[in-house]
Symmetry: C2
Subunit: 524 residues, 2 copies
């Protein structure tokens, strides 16, 4: 009843024109009230509400969803489901398990885990004191917490979930407060670069199967970056900040990046220019080999370790036949502090139907899920994160990839808009129909028979629907078959099976109907 | 950079022992700071953090999930997936579309829509002023808002989503702050009781397929209840409160219910006793017919309308062959105000593996998702809700059902625990293995071939794994087949295909391998 009291007080505040913050504050002063006093108060308020128009006041507000959120209609959901199915099938093909971690993590779990990105306090007001975060963190953090807490030392898992964001939404730019995250990770102590190569293979498979257009997967290594910074004369304490400047190279010109490094971050011009020479390099295994011979680069142990692994990675990628899309790119510098080895990012290369939301998203800020312009997947190796949670600091090496699934959705939606092909929002195989009156019961009986046999069937909820409206519904929603019942068919123990697109009709004996429907819709 | 400032201030508050509310308040006084001043402050704080132990301080806290939440491990997720698949397949078999509404709704959308249950304000602290609710409301409310807002007049849809609850969690009793809701609804102006009957058919199918044990579906009608109250002499303004007392009949004895009606709610003893005679009645179409002839009941137009529809409902249920499980039960009185016609609730009748959580859940409070002891599904007709959102009050009749999916999960988990059968957490069909050294590349090549052919395959991420450990992994995770490569097999262009459970091995020519694996795992 306390809750009713609070709800009504809130209502009261609204009715008498108090500012919206009224309730939280005034409730404190009400804390001395007993439950029955509150009940009384509530009764009075509800009466007041009735006087003020009660439910008649319901039409005064504009219908809308909450700020930063949106509905998904059946067509959008059908597209989402297709995307999910493609992605999850791929994860399962690679033997991944599914785990789920809560959308909230304790504040102490998140603190200090991701550098400049700890901006996600979404603790509900009514939960205050519980030190919770609502969490659109990179899902690697809850994953690492899960591994450490459950002492899991090796797992291959995926996780797809809605997450929530604190930022002010910018819906026109595709930024919402509620959105999906999709992650695949491999945890465990293994021989170098084998799971890393599988992650890239997975990105290649998913992007190919989704048919988003041509793509490229850029690969680099945190150790190569750090080694490069070292040999170019970047002071140790400037690695991270210089790294985040380099990270902007996919959005702004080298001149701007150089200027930021020199003018804002105080790097010497020589160092900046040396970096400039390296970050313009792109290639494959050959580039890794060349850099291993590079007079300067080869002075860094770290860089050499990274480059040796890069060679190894490319040899596995060759076996996986995905090197056509993978580029070793020294300008790739993903922001998150916890990466320790290989990093990668997949981008769409065509100038075709890249959504406006995605394109604008990159203007001056990191895009959704930490991926940049045109980016649809990204990830890397993070060998230190689990150890940060383990009481004894035991490390569990991890490598993973996040699919920029919201961007994929919007691209797929745009493609569907542009395409002549209709998106089906149901999977119904057959409509049970009748041309004559008074056959509702027969239609229902047959429909139930089909349902029980596992056939996806619909029937109109009208006693005597017109045949035309039944056929029209099939046209509209893409139902391929109609099972038509009439007096004659019932007498003959048959059903007239009509193919919607060809309008061809044949009589099918009732006991063969299920089989015939299955045969004709086996590709559905 | 502002965000970094806030994060670090929060951190600082924690380090120097300020109460957790410190930050929000002190930030206001800091609002005059410039970005660069904040940057400076942040740098100092991060330094302080390092001095205080920096990352070494990471081991001081206990690893746990946030209050009221839990992780789901792969086994639990496999069970969830199986349940979801069963339920979603059923919804799709009935031609349902999928829509998604946000987990938040505007406060004004929710206000006044569900009587005594408006207790769900979970607005994140950082969103205050936005009048949002985090919403574990019955999903009918966002659904009705969706229909009115998008002017949808007919749809058959399902919606499965995680929702969040404000209540203090009671995890030992199965009450969490984060849980799933699963709903199916049919909206549209149709001939009476046809969609209503389909909802019951769907409950029947789902509960049968899930094999949760024997069940019963109780049916009643809000109009029959109201008519009954009227003819028993309950004053109009006491209908709702008496109704919610009757609703307790599945948990407490008639004596207790009677006592509450008379002593607490001031009903006359005669009225209470007359109600007592009706609410003890159970039956089927026969009972509806009998009550239509009942001297008292037949005086109520409302009751007669409900009883006539009940007869109609049972005639459709007979066609659907589900009357074996459906009982017309006059004691069923679901709490939610917005029901206008038929109401129903499915309960498990066996005393078998009903989870402790579920059983205890009903003690003195409504169980999760508004269902009562043993209840696994419930719903009804709500013809007025959409009209409450429509500017012109246009009604869209709706009927729907919620599956108590969290309870289903826990029952399935208990069944899995009790069963000897192992729950597979992956769908891997084949493990690509080797008995000899130096065949990593060959294993990877073959694995990629299989992936590309759509086979679910795993390979160990070791250069030279032992055959025994590869076979052990198959045993552990239920992988049925092993494709073994050796020098001889490579020379012969074959693969040794081993069936794990029988240990039988045959040589399969490499170009027939995919086909052979598909043939042997076609039931997977």
């Amino acid at each position: 009843m306390i809750n009713l009291g609070m709800a009504s007080l809130r209502l009261y505040a609204g009715l008498v024109g108090y500012p919206s913050g009224f309730c939280a504050r005034s409730l404190r002063t009400l804390s001395g009230m007993t439950v029955s006093q509150i009940d009384e108060e509530v009764a009075k308020l509800l009466e007041l509400k009735v006087q003020l128009g009660g439910d008649e006041g319901r039409h005064q507000f504009t219908l809308k969803t909450a700020k930063g959120t949106r509905d998904y209609n059946p067509k959008q959901m059908a597209i989402r489901e297709k995307v999910f199915n493609t992605i999850i099938s791929c994860f399962k093909r690679h033997g991944a398990e599914n785990i789920d971690t809560p959308v909230f993590e304790l504040k102490e779990t998140l603190t200090g885990k991701y550098g400049e990105d700890s901006k996600y306090d979404l603790t509900p007001a009514s939960w205050s004191g519980n030190s919770l975060f609502l969490d659109p963190t990179p899902s690697q953090v809850p994953f690492a917490r899960y591994l450490a807490m459950n002492k899991v030392t090796n797992i291959k898992r995926y996780h797809i979930a809605k997450v929530y964001r604190r930022d002010n939404p910018a819906m026109t730019r595709g930024r919402y407060r509620e959105f999906y995250q999709c992650d695949f990770d491999i945890a465990g102590q293994y021989d170098p670069m084998i799971p890393d190569a599988e992650c890239l293979k997975i990105v290649h498979e998913i992007l190919s199967e989704l048919e988003l257009g041509d793509f490229r997967i850029k690969v680099n290594d945190r150790r190569i970056l750090d080694g490069m910074f070292a040999v170019c004369g970047v002071p140790d304490d400037k690695f991270r900040t210089i790294c985040s400047t380099v990270d902007k190279l996919d959005k702004v010109s080298w001149e701007d990046v150089r200027s930021e490094m020199v003018k804002e971050k105080g790097l010497s011009e020589e160092a900046a220019d040396q970096i400039g020479q390296y970050v313009s390099l792109q290639g494959g295994m050959d580039l890794a080999e060349r850099l291993l011979q590079d007079a300067k680069m080869s002075q860094s142990k770290q860089a050499c370790a990274g480059l040796t692994d890069m060679k190894q990675l490319f040899s596995y990628l060759q076996l996986f036949q995905v090197t056509d899309k993978v580029v070793f790119d020294l300008s790739l510098a993903r922001g998150l502090d916890y990466y320790t080895g290989v990093i990668y990012e997949a981008i769409l290369t065509q100038t075709g139907p890249v959504p406006v939301a995605a394109a604008q998203n990159g203007a001056g800020e990191k895009a959704e899920e930490g991926v940049s312009v045109g980016s649809v997947a990204g990830g890397g190796r993070y060998d230190g994160l689990v150890g940060m949670f383990d009481p004894k600091g035991r490390k569990v090496p991890c490598v993973g990839v996040s699919i920029g699934i919201e961007r994929v959705f919007s691209i797929m939606e745009q493609k569907a808009e542009a395409s002549a092909e209709k998106v089906r929002t149901t999977e119904t195989q057959v409509m049970v129909a009748s041309a004559q009156k008074n056959l509702l019961e027969e239609r229902l009986r047959l429909t139930a028979e089909l349902w029980n046999a596992g056939i996806k069937a619909e029937v109109m909820y009208k006693k005597n629907p017109k045949l035309l409206s039944q056929l029209q519904h099939c046209e509209d929603s893409g139902i391929p078959l109609v099972a038509i019942l009439g007096e004659q068919e019932l007498k003959d123990g048959v059903v007239k099976l009509r193919t919607v697109h060809s309008r061809e009709e044949i009589d099918v004996s009732r006991d063969k109907l299920v089989e015939e429907i299955k045969r004709r819709t086996s590709d559905v």
